[in-house]
Assembly symmetry: D2
Homo-oligomer: 354 residues x 4
Amino acid sequence: MQTLGNYLKLTTFGESHGKAYGGILSNFPAGITLDLEKVQQALNRRRPGQSPIVTQRNESDTVELLSGIFEGKTTGMPIGFIIRNENQRSKDYTHLENALRPSHSDYTLEEKFGHRDYRGGGRSSARETSNWVVAGEICRQLLPSVSITAYVSGVGTITLDKEWQQLDFSLREENPVRCPDPEKAQEMEELIRKVRKEGDTVGGVVSCVVENVPKSLGEPVFQKLHAQLGHAMLSINAVKGFSYGSGFLSAQMRGSEHNDIFNEDFTTRTNHSGGIQGGISNGMPITFQVAFKPVATLLRPQQSYTISGTPTTLEGKGRHDPCVVPRAVPVVEALAAFVLADMYLINQGRKIEL
Amino acid sequence: MQTLGNYLKLTTFGESHGKAYGGILSNFPAGITLDLEKVQQALNRRRPGQSPIVTQRNESDTVELLSGIFEGKTTGMPIGFIIRNENQRSKDYTHLENALRPSHSDYTLEEKFGHRDYRGGGRSSARETSNWVVAGEICRQLLPSVSITAYVSGVGTITLDKEWQQLDFSLREENPVRCPDPEKAQEMEELIRKVRKEGDTVGGVVSCVVENVPKSLGEPVFQKLHAQLGHAMLSINAVKGFSYGSGFLSAQMRGSEHNDIFNEDFTTRTNHSGGIQGGISNGMPITFQVAFKPVATLLRPQQSYTISGTPTTLEGKGRHDPCVVPRAVPVVEALAAFVLADMYLINQGRKIEL
Amino acid sequence: MQTLGNYLKLTTFGESHGKAYGGILSNFPAGITLDLEKVQQALNRRRPGQSPIVTQRNESDTVELLSGIFEGKTTGMPIGFIIRNENQRSKDYTHLENALRPSHSDYTLEEKFGHRDYRGGGRSSARETSNWVVAGEICRQLLPSVSITAYVSGVGTITLDKEWQQLDFSLREENPVRCPDPEKAQEMEELIRKVRKEGDTVGGVVSCVVENVPKSLGEPVFQKLHAQLGHAMLSINAVKGFSYGSGFLSAQMRGSEHNDIFNEDFTTRTNHSGGIQGGISNGMPITFQVAFKPVATLLRPQQSYTISGTPTTLEGKGRHDPCVVPRAVPVVEALAAFVLADMYLINQGRKIEL
Amino acid sequence: MQTLGNYLKLTTFGESHGKAYGGILSNFPAGITLDLEKVQQALNRRRPGQSPIVTQRNESDTVELLSGIFEGKTTGMPIGFIIRNENQRSKDYTHLENALRPSHSDYTLEEKFGHRDYRGGGRSSARETSNWVVAGEICRQLLPSVSITAYVSGVGTITLDKEWQQLDFSLREENPVRCPDPEKAQEMEELIRKVRKEGDTVGGVVSCVVENVPKSLGEPVFQKLHAQLGHAMLSINAVKGFSYGSGFLSAQMRGSEHNDIFNEDFTTRTNHSGGIQGGISNGMPITFQVAFKPVATLLRPQQSYTISGTPTTLEGKGRHDPCVVPRAVPVVEALAAFVLADMYLINQGRKIEL
């Protein structure tokens, strides 16, 4: 049950301080020419150590593709891959063998499984998302005309108030925060630096826009496109909320202002629907928002208890992100690409050509 | 793929103006004594016509259980059930055969399937949620000590600012809005009446608290408890957002204020985690929020187009809810009960007794 | 987990003496015109009481289709249906409340579930296969050019030695045994009558030929077409074996005689492969064989024990088939049609049209 | 869809001449101490080159376990593993780029996927079964008291007529054929040597006995234990038939001789049921049979065609097995162990402890 997807399947494994991460992408169509360098480039965008405001853990995050590709093209067979762990400073974690970190999964994993790899959070580490970036980039190449852009729209109380249409996405990668508004990006970066200096962390929001979406993605009732996206995004470590289109704001609106009136070509004048109606894409841009809590590992003392109930003081010694949203951007894009590809392939199954 | 659940499965069918709704609940354990009257009572809470502020469609919503129960107890076999449609005034919809209603699924279903039952939204009607209430109430009886309470916490701009601990849930059913704060409930009801008079609709928020939750529900990575809840809630008609615990607010917080510090017994002093850490229940109350957009069917004229592109004016003639949240309360509870039961049974599978 | 299929899903319910059987066929494509009378006709072929050599239980087996069809065509939405039980002479079974019938599921269900509907075998009754016939006939109409013909090729030691190409399938329905060789059919019928007079039962074999099969059905490794067929056939009550093409005989052959040499058009000179190579249909006729044990309910005394361990003598009083294969023929065809349709739709999903 | 299992999941990848095979075993319970050497030993039993009568391809088949195990015990997290390919003499296959080998998957893969890794059969190679042996041996350690013994019971027309109770299983590994009857083993080995000398191949049968089986494994209707076993066995390369208990012979028997009469302790006097009644294990030994066709690759000329339709003569040059059944024995055991573990875990999910 550590599998994502309905028709297309991503099954993964890996622990923060184990030998390797890896995964199998099944049911990907045959005959697709893959640009494997782009897969590595996508991983590099998620990589630790890429800028001064992210964790300094030193991992090359090199993916090795093991199957399913022959002479540069997919064969329709499962695509297996691994990413070796390199810089496991497991000693940073020995003190955690017994102490339970607040707002981590330490306690719940201990209760549920009895036995766990406590080093660096084990299976709960966000390093798992590197598997998703590999799969997501491959999926992106299945839908080359679709444009998926995630960006940081909030860090702490600094929020980007502009509509996405007013933003210049080409500016996004020019700052380490991945916010396409240079001024806001500057403020956000400063906040992250300040917070880090204080040994603290801060939450944030990632927004995502998908342009040039095929119509008819998503299945009625229990496989609605936004519910699939929501499930995927809520699977990312530290995510606390998901909304699409008008989101939580819609709860305060009237139907007469919220309804998206059609143009003659069945585009809509407004897009409160966020590109999805009845769970199915209508061809308008898909928009959604993902809220991330502040990272739970602090570089300052926190009170806690050992498993046996002895009080203890805990202080993060590892190399951690003061704010996850800059590195979450490629993860959000990867999962969006995966979900869209999955829904695209399911939809193909419906087409009868007899 | 019109199935919900992982171990426990709910598969459903039905259209607004077809012969019947119904479903099959599979993998429910044997030997559970069911109170079948409670199942009907749960349905009655969702029923149209129950109060002046909901749709006046006249349906008794009587469930007939067809299998899987013998001498009052479950047998472990699939529980099949149907709910006959009675009051199908399909003529209300004949004008819709060609006109596409804004912010409905009319256009996307038409594009995706070519052929659709357009009467009353067909498969997209929220009448489908009556199936979920049947299954949810059965699941609730599997976990009798767990207490699931959903309530309306927002209608339009009127929002309930109190923490759930300050509310008296016993007051919830004493008003048609299902808000446990009598004063706010009064304001909300007045707003709904006003909006209806204007032929308009309004959105709202349903909050939910689950008390006395077993620990260890939820599976790492792709079956996190909150992602399962999110997926289920986002499947409800008109839902635009889902968050749990501190939700979108967490994005603005620091780790040092957000972290839930342990007490000696591993309860936590605060509960920003909303009872879920690393995707697994920690025994604290589970809290989540669901945002509903305003109903798209208005009893006032709207401009639109027929499928062939002719401009037309559309005016809802059916019997519709001006605000869905009061009737959504039992649906949210039903889905929560289903997800918890599903995760509970999956967790049982892990236990080895050799 | 009472669901059959991979892309196409059939989920069912029902007990022999419960209120009704029924099922939901999900993910069936939209826009297919269905001949609903043919669905009932298929059920009639499986119906009890249709000839003197089958059980005389009196059931009309009338199917009611409840959803997913609008104006005679499928809508892509789940097709729900029920078949009411009518002639439940549950009193025939009261003596079974405690006595465990040999070679039935009485003991294993009791051990596994603790609580069971013992009347007529409850969920284990072969009446469940009526659900499959409904779904199978609908699937058959999805693939109208494919011809699926099952027939009785063995009853006890009387076996049909002719190759299927030598048989005139039009003669199959002219005898109650459903064997297309009139002489053998006569012998088989006499054997069944004799066995019934003795209060005994007898086993048999159903063979099946699928002509005009689309190529490329079946997926490598764990969804091979023959493994899907095998799984489905082994799900039929009383089935003890499944083989395809050269079957168990192949174990005695040399590669040089067994290999199917290609013709220029990639048909093959022989068809030991039974139309399936590497788990994928190659366009040649698919052939397979299904072995059925003798019915376990005898109309003569058998020694057994009650659940509490008291010795008892048991004698079937219900209305039972002395040999199941004649009525199994439409069931084998139905499941074959379902599996082929499922594999057909999965294969469609692979096709990229960007 | 390259996944086996229902609760427990095995997802795999790999091609004969790709970089590596590998897999992910998900949902395996936590806290199980694994003997990792036994996993390698199981692989060694399947390894090429182990005796003079099997293929001489030189592969060490060394498994590397990458995750899910910590301090010698499982963590409940996915167990990822890889087996690197070493001795890929891909040049043996260059002549196959265009020629289609009879009774292989060359033609069907070509038709289905358009693009394929033709080297050594690519994904269709039986090397995939090494993945299954890894997973199966881990599963075997979950059910340590269960004893699974497969053995060769037929090679060509030489068949073992003894009941399994008359055999001394300790003699099985003392001959390269893996037949526990030394005399028959001798005959079989001679036949295989003779056939190989002739550049030909021969089929065979593997029988399997599972002793000390827990009761209650298997789920009614579509997850019957024998149907799960049948599906798994039919997934093995070259398998043409599966039967359990009395198998195809049952078709010729009367109910009065076939029924398994109970003893007072609910064991049965006979075991025609093969340990499974109504799809659920009854605690008696499980017995089943698997028929393998002769290997399709011959070391003698065969006529065929290139993809473009040009006649050509084909002659196997690779290193191939003249008869697969000796090396299939550990594969049959591995899949049986997997299926039993899967059904065991599903059954656990049903148990309520509230």
